[in-house]
């Protein structure tokens, strides 16, 4: 099979692969396109160039937890949303608070979540988050009952446009500075 011999062609191959992929492509996936004849550093450089090439166009090339993907620039989302007026219903406060606890305090058990929220965790809440593939069970805490430990998934980071948990808004921003009590 013919192999690309210039940078422009390599970039077009990357572009075609990224545009047609239903999920983000990791560097490892993209390396496969060149049958082992590509250095990681070169690939990163090509991706940077590709990103710059699209800067004036309709899509952004972004890097999320699972890899690289093209997505519509934010300015079009309002128009695009008119195509699908039936949007995902908003999650309840219970769901979002549970998600926040898992995201910032992971890995946590149901007991930990109940301790922080002061109310029992509805199994539906956990189920909704698992069905969205935003959380999963990463182990059991070695205490009586061996409760499941929950953590957020790569998919959660992908869906929120994040590369890692470190990119979440810092938790300190929400916590009041502790003032010692008299």
């Amino acid at each position: 099979m013919r192999e690309p011999d210039n940078i422009e062609e390599m970039k077009r191959i990357l572009e075609a692969a990224l545009l047609t992929s239903p999920q983000p492509l990791a560097l490892e996936d993209l390396l496969k396109l060149f049958a082992g004849r590509m250095e990681r550093a070169t690939l990163r450089m090509l991706l940077d160039e590709l990103k710059a090439d699209w800067a004036e166009k309709t899509l952004d090339l972004v890097q999320v937890a699972s890899g690289y993907r093209f997505q519509a620039k934010a300015e079009y989302s309002e128009y695009l949303s008119r195509l699908n007026p039936e949007r995902q219903p908003k999650y309840s406060r219970a769901v979002m608070e549970t998600l926040a606890i898992i995201a910032y305090r992971q890995p946590v058990t149901r007991g930990d979540i109940e301790q922080i929220r002061g109310v029992a965790v509805n199994p539906n809440v956990i189920r909704q988050l698992q069905e969205r593939d935003w959380i999963d069970v990463v182990g059991q805490r070695e205490v009586p009952g061996r409760p499941s430990l929950y953590a957020t998934t790569k998919h959660f980071l992908d869906d929120l446009n994040l590369r890692s948990l470190a990119e979440l808004p810092p938790f300190e921003a929400f916590a009041q500075t502790e003032i010692p009590l008299e």
């Binding site: 949303s81 949007r87 979002m96 002061g118 502790e178």
Partner: protein, 261 residues
Amino acid sequence: MEFTTNHPVKIKGEPLSALPQDLYIPPDALEVYLETFEGPLDLLLYLIRKHNLDILDIPMADLTVQYMAYVDKMKVVNLELAAEYLLMSAMLIEIKSRMLLPKPTEVAVEDDPRAELVRRLMEYEAIKLAAQRLDAMPKVGEQIEVAAAYYQQISLVKPPEVSLDDLVEAWRNVLKRAKLNQHHKLGRAELSVREHMSLLLRRLSAAQVLRFDELFDLETEGVPKLVVNFLAMLELAKEGLVRITQQEAFGTIYVQANSAG
């Protein structure tokens, strides 16, 4: 006289199938009322923020009174949910009482009885704000549209590979069965690998595809002939004249002429 709630209620002879709308609080409405607060911590935070109380110096008496008033309202509609709220009531009253007690002189520094409550309230408030922030962040399927150009996935169909071990194993089976059909033959047998190669090719061009074991006539051929036949096949494969394929591990091995194409 018997009092039972399961007794069907009849109005003008008709059994009552649904509660009349005007007398009945729809469960949804009830839920909305109770779901306003995500538990006792949320209610306490609401009271503290609404009345501009200092979270670090909570006036326990005021807060407890207000809290109890809310809980009393809730008790009327849903006792089950109030259980967690009642626990908090007990905690508030306990803190209040401990604050009223004179400090024992021998304990120099006593912890503020409110410390644990304040810690929990602040932790919960932080999570509450974090949740609102997560909720507001753009998400795939909501504000983020992922590009997905149409592409019909074509996967390259690779013919199954046959390992040397597979061939050896197949050969062993042939030999095993050959032994069962051993005849003692006398006389000279002129054996030539090249000749058998031609013979095999001829058979294959007529039959297109043959099973590996069909290529060996265990009834009439002696072991030396089988060996030569096998060598001939390997030679043909080496020269690319036949293709040997196997659909799955330990499956049937097929041999076909490589002339097509």
